[in-house]
Symmetry: C2
Subunit: 294 residues, 2 copies
C-alpha cells in the first residue's frame, strides 16, 4: 500500500559481511569493536546535561553504531535491550498501523534519545529508520538503570529523556490539534532550524532528509499539501526551496504564520508585504482575490 517499502527492506548485507559481522548482530551491541565507543561523560553534553565529576564515570563507555541511510535501527516488536543516543545523522520513527499505513512519529537527530518506548513492555513499539548516515551510542538499558540508581545525575538524565518526550507530545498536540497546514509547516521548518542551530549547523540553510510524504505523515497532512505549501512559502519569499534543500529567508515571517497574534515587525531587507499578506496573495494565484468578506 505504501511506496516507501525500500526503507523497510533489510539493507544489503554484503557490507556487514565484509566487516565479518553476522547479520544477526544488527540490533544489539556486539558491533562495538567496529565503530569504537564513547565515554559517558563525553556523551552527556550532547544530551544537554552535566554529569557529576565522580571518577567512577571515567570508565563508563558505550559502544557506537553506524547506520547508513535506509537502514533500520530497530523495529517494532524487537526485544528492548538498549536505548540509543544519536550522535550524528537523522532518523524517522514510524508506527505501522493495522492497515499497513505508515505513521511518522518523529525525526530524531543528534542529541535525541531513541527507544524509550520499549522500557515498559520490553519490546520497542516503533520502527526507527535512518534517513541519513548516522552514528548512535548504544546504551544497554540495565546498565543505565543501574547507573541511575547509584548516581542522582544519571537518574535526572533518565527523567529528562522521558520528559522531553512529554514536551514533544504537548507540542505536537498543539500543532496537530490547532494549527492550519501552513502553520504546521512553518512550525516544522522553525523547529528544524532551531535543532540544527543548537547543534552548530546553519539555522537558515539545511536539508530536509524526509520526503514530502514523510513530512506530511508527521504533520497530519497529505504530501500534496506539503508540496503546495512549501511552494507557496517560496512564492511569498519566506523560503527558498530546491528539492530537499531549504533556505529560510524570513524567519520572523514564518513565526508570524505560526502565531498570527505576533507583530509582523520590519522585514529583513527590502520592502515586502507582510508575510501573511504575501501568503494570501500567492495562494490566490488560482482564481481571483475576491476578498470582500461580509
Amino acid at each position: 500500500m505504501f511506496d516507501s517499502a525500500a526503507y523497510n527492506e533489510p539493507p544489503r548485507e554484503r557490507f556487514d559481511e565484509a566487516r565479518h559481522v553476522p547479520a544477526e548482530s544488527r540490533g544489539d551491541a556486539r558491533c562495538e569493536s567496529n565503530w569504537g565507543s564513547v565515554r559517558f561523560v563525553d556523551l552527556a553534553p550532547l544530551l544537554g546535561v552535566a554529569l557529576s565529576s565522580d571518577p567512577r564515570f571515567a570508565d563508563v563507555t558505550f559502544p557506537l553504531r553506524r547506520i547508513r541511510a535506509g537502514e533500520v535501527l530497530h523495529r517494532a516488536g524487537d526485544a528492548f535491550k538498549a536505548i540509543y543516543v544519536v550522535r550524528s545523522g537523522f532518523f524517522k520513527t514510524v508506527s505501522i498501523d493495522t492497515a499497513g499505513a505508515e505513521l511518522v512519529l518523529g525525526f530524531p537527530m543528534a542529541g535525541d534519545a531513541i527507544g524509550l518506548d520499549g522500557v515498559d513492555s520490553g519490546r520497542y513499539l516503533t520502527d526507527v529508520v535512518a534517513l541519513d548516515i548516522s552514528n548512535v551510542a548504544v546504551i544497554p538499558f540495565p546498565q543505565l538503570a543501574q547507573l541511575a540508581r547509584e548516581h542522582p545525575c544519571v537518574e535526572r538524565l533518565l527523567y529528562s529523556m522521558f520528559s522531553r518526550e512529554l514536551v514533544h507530545k504537548h507540542a505536537m498536540f498543539w500543532l496537530l490539534g490547532t494549527l492550519s497546514a501552513e502553520a504546521r509547516i512553518a512550525s516544522f521548518l522553525l523547529d528544524l532550524s532551531e535543532r540544527f542551530g543548537r547543534l552548530g549547523y546553519s539555522r537558515t540553510a539545511f536539508a530536509l532528509r524526509a520526503t514530502r510524504q514523510e513530512i506530511g505523515s508527521y504533520l497530519g497532512l497529505k504530501l500534496e499539501t506539503v508540496s503546495r505549501t512549501l511552494s507557496a512559502f517560496a512564492a511569498a519569499g519566506l523560503v527558498y526551496i530546491d528539492r530537499r534543500e531549504v533556505t529560510l529567508r524570513d524567519v520572523e515571517g514564518l513565526r508570524c504564520i505560526v502565531d498570527p497574534a505576533r507583530q509582523p515587525s520590519e522585514p529583513p531587507r527590502v520592502h515586502q508585504p507582510s508575510p501573511r499578506a504575501a501568503m494570501r496573495a500567492s495562494r490566490s494565484l488560482r482564481p481571483a482575490p475576491l476578498a470582500m468578506a461580509g
Copy 2:
C-alpha cells in the same frame, strides 16, 4: 476569548475555610489529615502493577486529597512536589497557549497518574482541573524516587507510568494525524468505554464529564463538529445521547467507523444498514444524496 473561564477561577474558598485549611495549602500535601491515606500496596493494583510483598512496603502510605468538580489540582508553573494517582473521579489536563486559548491534553481518571510532566523542570507544565468530584493519592516525588532506587518493582512502576504517556502519545498522533472527525469521536467513545469498563463501570452507558468544547479541543475539532457528529451517530443508531449521558448501542459499528477495513459483522439485533452506510445516510439529511461521482 473562552467561556469556560469558570473552571479557571479559584473555587469558592468558604469550604476550605470551613475545614480550617488555608487556601494556600491547595496544591500540596498538608491536607492529608482531612481525607485519610492509602497504603502503597493498596494503590498498586489500581495502577495495574503488583508490588513485591517486601514487608517494608506495609508501612508506606500516601495522603489522599479530595477535589470537587471545577477545582484545580495543580496549575502550570506550580512547583513540582508530587505526582497524583487518581482513585476516583475525572479530570482534564490543559495547556494554555500564548494567545490564552485552552488546549485539552487528556482526561485522566481512576488509575491514571498526573503530574509526571513536572519531573524534569521542577514545575508542572499543565493545569489539571477536576470535572467531577474526585479523589487522588498524593505521592511526594522524592519519596517515590527513593523507593524506586531501593525496589525494582517501584522502579518498574515509575517506568510504566512514563511508558503509558508514550503509548498515549502514539495513539493521539494516530488519531489527530490520520482520522476523520467521525473516526476521532468514535475512537474517543470507545476509549472511554474501555476505561470505564476496566474500572468496573458499564462499558455501554456512561457520562461525558466534559463539554463539547473540551472534547473538541482534545480531539482537534470544533465544538460544533463534535455536536453534529454525536447527533449523526445517534441518528444512525450507533449511540443514544442525552446531553452528557451516552449509551453505546453498536460498539462494533463504532469500531468500523474507526477502522473501515474491519468487516461490519452482523448488527446486534434487528436489521440495520451497515454503520458506515447509516452514517452516510444520516449525514445527507442536508441537501440531497447526489452521489454520482464522475
